[in-house]
Symmetry: C2
Subunit: 110 residues, 2 copies
Amino acid sequence: MTGVFKALSDPTRRHVLELLRRGPMTAGELADHFPVSKPTMSAHFAALREADLIFAKKDGKQVVYSLKLSVLEDALMGFAQAFGLGGKTQDAPAETPPEPPSDAKEALPE
Amino acid sequence: MTGVFKALSDPTRRHVLELLRRGPMTAGELADHFPVSKPTMSAHFAALREADLIFAKKDGKQVVYSLKLSVLEDALMGFAQAFGLGGKTQDAPAETPPEPPSDAKEALPE
DNA sequence: ACTTCATTTAGATGATTAGCTAAACGTCGA
DNA sequence: TCGACGTTTAGCTAATCATCTAAATGAAGT
């Protein structure tokens, strides 16, 4: 979860995801959209790969990246729903906020 | 937008938001839930304030923090909807992805 | 085999981040 | 005004991050 949000915290990476929404693209095509060096883009791709938000497939000389929409959805929607956001599966209009999990000096998930 | 995702990229800060979901809490109460120093917590509060995700109200000796749910919703849902996620306002099942805004060396929002 | 094109790795730098302790600040109540 | 309490600021450290240039890798094409 932290990995996803960290990946999303960079504008360049968010933009890459948006480009990928239209379909798979090669690393070079993607890089052409940004005023940074290829190695820098490669690092951004790596961050997105590590967050499992994209996946890479080698095709001859090129590397084709594709969006993993389901992972994005799980992270975003999962978190949103914990707050009763997101339209669908909201568990309560939150006037009486959902069962407070007993906590004190609790462990951090992740 | 970047600010929100950056704020969300830290587990401690996400946890603070979740605690705040149940209602306003003082900085001290919140801090009691985490094994870090008060100054460190204060920095986390500042990050959340800067992202406009919480708001602070002084009440005598204490500072009471409240969640700004609407800001969280706008950021999360706004981004999700750009991908056709989120149940409600999806604009297309995305077989033919939405109008690609003509771009090349485009400016990064934020 | 050599060249060329696409991408990644190596290695460096400056900025930012999360964490700490210790000190300062601000607001109450006595 | 003083002391106590809760919070923030100062100043530090170690780690991570975004970026660069230069070089290495890998796969075609000739």
